[in-house]
């Protein structure tokens, strides 16, 4: 018991210190590294709260993928950073920003401290109805059955994010290949890792997807792992990114949302409601949605990281 309090207290202190450091540090690259550490520490905090699903997602998306996106942004902005930092905002602007931030933080604090005790929970109702879905993991049951509409909208938002990135494409490269062409170094360390790790990573990714029905895991974590393996082979120069005009790529991007919507609308005549599953078919349909979504998430996340097209489509 005492040990647990010690660990939680230390974890909490580290989360706060890293968060403050990330805000205060002047160098943006250091701030991104701080943010990555913050994400990993938060993942540990979720583990301590026994929320393994949230921990996996935080480590994969919050700590891993978002940090990679931010690192790329920092590298891209490096050329203009000095001039941007020279323009310090005026005193009034800084005071206003501080007041606004303090007000938001204060309001959040009031809301969290004002939660009724015990906090309102739908967990007993989920436990009561989970048998009808055929799933063992309550988180997956909530995400794909009881609150499937939220998950559907998440899938759509992800595609929109990629559309926003592609919107930055210069006209002459539209339909071309994203990102720079990475030089392959056949005996290099990165090429070695990119040959050794993907077989393992793909197996682990598909395992995480498959156990998501009954244990912590699911399409988001699995999709991130697959995207990471794809990015590794791209950055080692072993594979090239396909041009964004390629039809197969577009199909892979849309598959998750399309399958989700098709099954959702099929629920109207077959089960009486949008996104309702016919009796006894819940689990296979959920697995189908998850499989299609995993492919779309992996491709979308990978393309988000490599960025807008910078070259023509020719190999």
């Amino acid at each position: 018991m005492i040990g647990g309090i010690f660990v939680d207290g230390g974890l909490l202190a580290m989360v706060v210190v890293v968060a403050v450091w990330t805000i205060l540090v002047r160098d943006s690259f250091a701030a991104v590294i701080g943010y990555a550490c913050y994400g990993l520490l938060l993942a540990f905090a979720w583990v301590r709260l026994a929320a393994i699903d949230a921990a996996l997602t935080e480590a994969a998306i919050g700590g891993g993928l978002t940090s990679v996106l931010l690192i790329r942004a920092v590298v891209r902005l490096r050329a203009t950073e000095a001039s941007a930092q020279a323009e310090t905002p005026g005193r009034l602007q800084r005071i206003l920003a501080a007041v606004l931030s303090a007000a938001v933080a204060g309001a959040l604090g009031v809301v969290v401290l004002g939660l009724p005790e015990p906090a309102p929970s739908l967990a007993p109702r989920v436990a009561e109805h989970i048998a009808s879905t055929g799933l063992g993991n309550a988180v997956t049951a909530v995400l794909l059955a009881f609150r499937a509409i939220d998950t559907l909208l998440e899938a759509v938002v992800l595609v929109y994010a990629l559309v926003a990135v592609w919107a930055l494409t210069p006209d002459r490269f539209w339909g071309g290949r994203p990102g720079p062409k990475y030089a392959v170094e056949p005996n290099g360390m990165l090429a070695y890792l990119a040959r050794l790790l993907p077989p393992l990573g793909i197996v682990v990714g598909i395992y995480v997807f498959w156990v998501g029905a009954d244990l912590p895991g699911g399409k988001f974590q699995a999709g991130t792992l697959l995207a990471a393996m794809w990015l590794l082979t791209i950055m080692a120069g072993l594979t090239d990114v396909p041009p964004i005009s390629r039809r197969l790529l577009r199909i892979a991007l849309a598959a998750g949302t399309v399958v989700f919507l098709a099954i959702g609308f099929a629920g109207v005549p077959l089960a009486g409601a949008f996104l309702a599953y016919p009796e006894g078919f819940a689990k296979p349909l959920i697995l189908l949605i998850e499989a299609a979504s995993m492919v779309s998430i992996a491709v979308t996340l990978g393309l988000l990281v490599v960025g807008p097209p910078e070259r023509s489509g020719a190999p």
Partner: protein, 97 residues
Amino acid sequence: MSLLLDVWTVAAVTAGLFFFLAGTVGLLRFPDTLTRLHALTKADNLGLGLVVLGLLPRVDGPLAGLKLICVWLLALLAGATASQLIARLARRARPPA
């Protein structure tokens, strides 16, 4: 028997923690990138390895033990690759005299 295993766990995990402590001190105190990388990878490789060895008698079954060992091997692979890449960048930025 269980007392022996307890002693083993305590000894191995303590030794692992010592390497993490020494690695952290080295990371903070060593003068240049290459020596700091050396300190960091020692912590990862030996420290994590000893912690895993110490925890092996406590797992539920052989599968869980195998997973622990896989975690260690993956950390070895990732640590070795990342430190090689960083070391190469450091050398390119400042060629040896």
